[in-house]
């Protein structure tokens, strides 16, 4: 009788443990990766972007390898985002190839500039998008700091004035500006608010004492307290641009409330990346966790947590530092493994459009490379600091 009861209890225990293991806590696989491997991955991603550029400075938008079809759509924020990411690559690795490609991308944007009432903005494909201008300005600020070139200082301030015009008194940010009416459109963009705020924070770093940082902080407060409700979201937006913004705010602007928001963001990114590490995309894991996530999504979590790692010395975040570093390293490990290698690309129809790219179910887009590249740069910065 006792043996039968013991066998029953143990059977239930083992079965439940099995269900738990497979369904709730599959292994989180973090392949070991070296700084050299991360740097090689960065170079390949930069090369993919540079190879696909048109003579006028546009990037290849997307490629479907199953259909061997190039997506010829285009999008201003993504153009500015890729350009900014290339400047980040130059800033971290010193890559001349990244700087040259970014400058060509910048030239394309400079052709679309216009001035109006004291500000300068980029009209891309007939749309004056706040996010695109924010990322363009962020790229310029990163370029200025990395190269010491002050050529575009007036332009930076001009775009900064545009972003401030787009900002409402409560810190919210209009997503668009209409050239025909000369007014801001009272519509919010999902990410343009954070993109504008980050650009303003970077502008404050470049030109301290001109008030840009206070404008950025106003939008951080809006993002931390009101944005999701006001903009109709049920859950919090895990906004990597907000993370970048807080990471770049002047130290005197890092209030407890803003640091609490940073903690929340780190939590979102950490959860996302832990879940991603559980994905293998085969067998029963595919049924329970689906395919390895879209590279742009994984990359945004990686760059978001990477940005906030810059604040890990702050006593209000120090306790999270080991976990932040673990997630950054883990993400770099599995994303290096997911990148198409030269050998894999050689067997494909369009090796140049595959090598160095990250695909999601057979499709890759410029922002896949952008976000994972930025995430890899955060990992490399961490690894180099560990080394020194």
């Amino acid at each position: 009788m006792i043996r039968r009861r013991l066998a029953l209890h143990l059977s239930v225990l083992v079965a439940a443990a099995g269900v738990l293991r497979v369904g709730i806590v599959p292994a989180e696989v973090c392949p070991p990766v070296t700084a050299a491997e991360v740097e090689a991955s960065i170079d390949e991603a930069v090369a993919w972007i540079a190879r696909g550029m048109t003579p006028e400075g546009r990037y290849t938008y997307g490629y479907d390898r199953g259909e061997d079809r190039v997506n010829n759509g285009y999008n201003g924020p993504r153009h500015a985002g890729v350009t900014m990411s290339l400047y980040q690559a130059h800033a971290v690795t010193g890559s001349d190839a990244a700087l040259a490609a970014a400058d060509r991308g910048l030239d394309y944007a400079l052709d679309g500039l216009f001035t109006h009432g004291g500000f300068t903005a980029w009209d891309v494909l007939g749309e004056v998008n706040t996010g695109a201008n924010g990322l363009l300005l962020a790229g310029l600020a990163i370029r200025r700091e990395a190269t010491g070139d002050t050529t575009h200082d007036d332009l930076m301030r001009g775009i900064g004035r545009f972003l401030v015009i787009q900002q409402y008194p409560d810190g919210s940010v209009s997503g668009y500006w209409h050239r025909s009416t000369g007014t801001s459109d009272p519509v919010f963009g999902t990410y343009s608010t954070g993109e504008a705020a980050w650009a303003l924070a970077l502008l404050d770093r470049a030109f301290p004492g001109e008030g840009w940082g206070d404008a950025a902080a106003r939008t951080v407060d809006y993002m931390a307290t009101e944005r999701d409700r006001r903009e109709g979201r049920i859950t919090r937006l895990p906004d990597h641009w907000a993370a970048y913004t807080i990471a770049e705010l002047r130290p005197d602007l890092l209030t407890d409330a803003r640091m609490d928001y940073a903690r929340q963001l780190v939590g979102y990114f950490g959860m996302r990346l832990r879940f991603e590490a559980q994905r293998r995309g085969d067998g029963i894991n595919l049924l329970l966790r689906w395919f390895p996530g879209p590279p742009a999504g994984v990359g945004t979590a990686g760059e978001g947590i990477g940005a906030l790692w810059l604040l890990a010395d702050d006593p209000r975040l120090t306790d999270l530092a080991p976990n932040i570093e673990e997630r950054i390293g883990c993400t770099a490990g599995f994303m290096v493994g997911r990148q198409v290698t030269a050998e894999e690309a050689a067997a494909s129809a369009r090796p140049d459009l595959e090598r160095g790219a990250w695909f999601y179910r057979g499709y890759t887009q410029m922002d896949d490379q952008q976000h994972v590249l930025s995430s890899m740069l955060a990992a490399l910065r961490l690894m180099e600091e560990d080394r020194t």
Binding site: M1, R5, L6, H9, V25, E28, Q264, M271, L320, N323
Partner: protein, 184 residues
Amino acid sequence: MSDLLLFLAFFSAVNPSRSRVGLPEGAGGRMRPGAVAVGAALSLLVIAALGWWSASILEALEITPETFRIAAGLVAVLAGWWAFVMAVPATEPPLGGWRDGVWPIAYPRILAPEVLLLAMAGATQNGVAAMTAAAGVGIGVLAALGAVRGTTRATRVLVAGGRVLAVLLVVAGIFLMVDGIRDV
């Protein structure tokens, strides 16, 4: 998780009130002190050992402690629901004498899945000492309840108390899951 949540989770997972119901009793309707002592000591030993090795076990399983907390919380919620629905646990045949402490007091009554998972989740975040102390409170109360005579009235009170602790376990499990989700 905070030390308070750790304590509440362990106390409601051990659920001394529900666990007392149906355990083997000696003369006078009270549990045999020897069996209670063996069961309590053995349970604490297993819990402490599991806590001590928790980091290595999770590393071998390639699970981060943060993700494991989500699993422990989920199991706590399910176990709390089960304890609420099945307020009177199944009566297990005793081994007899002090050996009742091994079966059924230590296992399966105290060392239930939710307690084992909490031991690992608690030790990785709060440390082995805090976790074992939290478990010790619940087990100590169960040992004290062993001295209560298993009358019909006492059993009714224990079952009601068990249900309250079952609800508390569900709440603690939810907090634990949220903790695991929000952590980095």
